[in-house]
Symmetry: C2
Subunit: 357 residues, 2 copies
């Protein structure tokens, strides 16, 4: 019987529809299990630029800091594509990650039996896939300085900086090992140590941290090889840990193992304050407002919130089972069409999952 304050930041495009679905499901959980969830709404991304002139208003940040957890939709859209860098929706996302110190982005990749045929990969390769990508989220080339444009001897150039401090690597690798301990006890650390200095430091630190976890196996894999292995033999993975940009690329690739990007939830854990939960998919402006988006990634993100921020395991499982049940019954949003079943709208999918909770 807990009381929880949840900051909801719908953002742009389908972010609005899918967070609203997740909120519905959380309300159902509150009723069934007798919890009080208070939802307070904040602006972020393009919506915030339009209404408040900045992608992450102070007010939104304060709201998040005073909440127990944050539920985010998605940001971005063509409307703001030509804005100057500091007035782009993505800046809001990057800023909230940095401000709340959301250093550990957990992206579970699971292939549900009923969706095996939605994947572009052969069924026997994806059936039973179950791993987590642990992506470093507040460092690396996303935040390194200098980053910008310079003109030198009349010649235009642009620069970005990939920087990692030892402690930043330590804490994310440790998180991966802790997760692996509760799973299949294998960590795959992905880097490009044959080219990058930062990857060589990464590898060293991973080796050091591994000593604290003698029961867990550590293997290193180069990022180019990892991009290949993810589709060649995805069942070899348990916990993948990697730096920010590699994690961005590999997790979108890996989404195809689960049938659709619309299936993938994520948790961005903070070192100190509230953590943030968001679907891996983007704002999908092409289908925004059409009641077609898959709400499952957002709903499973809410389940991760229940488990990781509130310690409500039974409640998280109730949501996850409700999702499986809807899928087993053959309900499919448009993105899952290749796996057969009955095509339903966002609302219908949400209603079904709510009812099952």
């Amino acid at each position: 019987m807990g009381n929880y304050r949840i900051a909801v930041l719908p953002g742009d495009g389908i972010g609005k529809e899918v967070t609203s679905g997740a909120v519905e499901v959380l309300k159902a959980v509150g009723i069934r299990f007798g919890h009080e969830f208070a939802f307070e709404y904040g602006l972020i991304g393009g919506a915030a630029i339009d209404e408040a002139g900045t992608p992450l208003p102070e007010e939104t940040l304060r709201l998040c800091q005073q909440s127990d957890a944050v539920l985010l939709g998605a940001v971005g859209g063509p409307k703001w594509d030509d804005n100057p860098p500091h007035l782009r929706p993505e800046k809001g996302l990057l800023a909230i990650r940095k401000q709340l110190d959301l250093y550990a982005n957990l992206r579970p990749v699971v292939c549900y039996d009923s969706l095996v045929s939605a994947s572009p990969l052969k069924p026997d390769l994806v059936q039973g896939v179950d791993f987590v990508i642990v992506r470093e989220l507040t460092g690396g080339i996303y935040f390194g300085q200098p980053s910008g444009r310079v003109v030198e001897n009349g010649e235009e150039r642009a620069v970005d900086t990939l920087l990692y401090k030892k402690e930043e690597i330590e804490r994310i690798v440790r998180m991966a090992f802790m997760l692996a301990r509760g799973r299949k006890k294998k960590v795959t650390s992905v880097d490009k140590a044959n080219v990058l200095s930062s990857s060589r430091l990464w590898r060293e630190v991973a080796e050091e941290v591994a000593k604290e976890f003698p029961d867990v196996t550590l293997e290193h894999m180069l990022v180019d090889n990892a991009a290949m292995q993810l589709i060649r033999a995805p069942k070899q993975f348990d916990v993948i840990v990697t730096e920010n940009m590699f994690g961005d690329i590999l997790s979108d690739e890996a989404s195809m193992l689960s049938g659709s990007l619309g299936m993938l939830p994520s948790a961005s854990l903070s070192a100190s304050g509230p953590s943030l939960y968001e679907p891996v998919h983007g704002s999908a402006p092409d289908i925004a407002g059409m009641n077609k988006a898959n709400p499952i990634a957002a709903i499973l993100s809410a389940a991760m919130m229940l488990r990781l921020s509130f310690g409500l395991t039974a409640e998280a499982e109730a949501v996850e089972h409700a999702v499986w049940q809807a899928l087993d019954q053959g309900l499919r949003t448009a993105d899952l069409a290749p796996s057969g079943g009955r095509i339903v709208s966002t609302n219908e999918m949400v209603e079904e999952i709510k009812a099952a909770v």
Copy 2:
């Protein structure tokens, strides 16, 4: 009836076996078409470290500069993994790319009908796949300075620098457009413009260059989305152009569309001097010396050399047809086993292709 000087740098691991296979095939081409190919051998990578104390000896570089084209195998292996950065095999590869100004790395990805079932992807997705990845090869985070380790306030950190000059982007994008003109007239420029300054410059320059090619369509795609689209719907691509590191990751991923990394050739074109041809795969130390490696990537690299460096189109086609014929006859090296057929050794595959030439 030409005379051509070819520098052969076998390198390490299976690099030796596959280049020797490609040389055999080139000799057969010489006999059939009446050309004189002179092969001169040089050291690179681990082999060069062992024999000459440096991954790219001066002598090798001079040999290449005096040749009409370079055929390279692969570099690297566990033996040298703990060497300091400047004594690692990969440094030899990076150095030769820089020294010969091999700025344009062309990696064609083709799925042969007879290998459709070797791919981890569903047959209808890969059948007919035919695109080229044009990877920038002498800039970006592979070469940017500073790159190294620093201790600041007792805190260890490592840094790498992603730097692009406008001209570097211009010439590689232009190369992509030129290629597209002879193909399906579509260029997909891959970047991360929502985060990286260098990607925003990349995108601007791509737009500018596009104006010179009104008959070719340009589209932009974020790298995370590209990693997903490559397996979701690979037939949408014609020419993909991207920066060094993204190209490294995406081309290894894309190799799975053709059934095996053992199928992918590449050409690294120089702005001025001789160009270099090498299989995309690495040195595969686990199967080195076992007569098991797939020589086709190296042989198709030799075909690219015939076409692009020597302008010998009929000769290149003869090699390509010989490869198809061997595959159609059901010959498979171990890496291609999932597609059925008869498993043969490296030598047997080479003999068959030679005979067909």
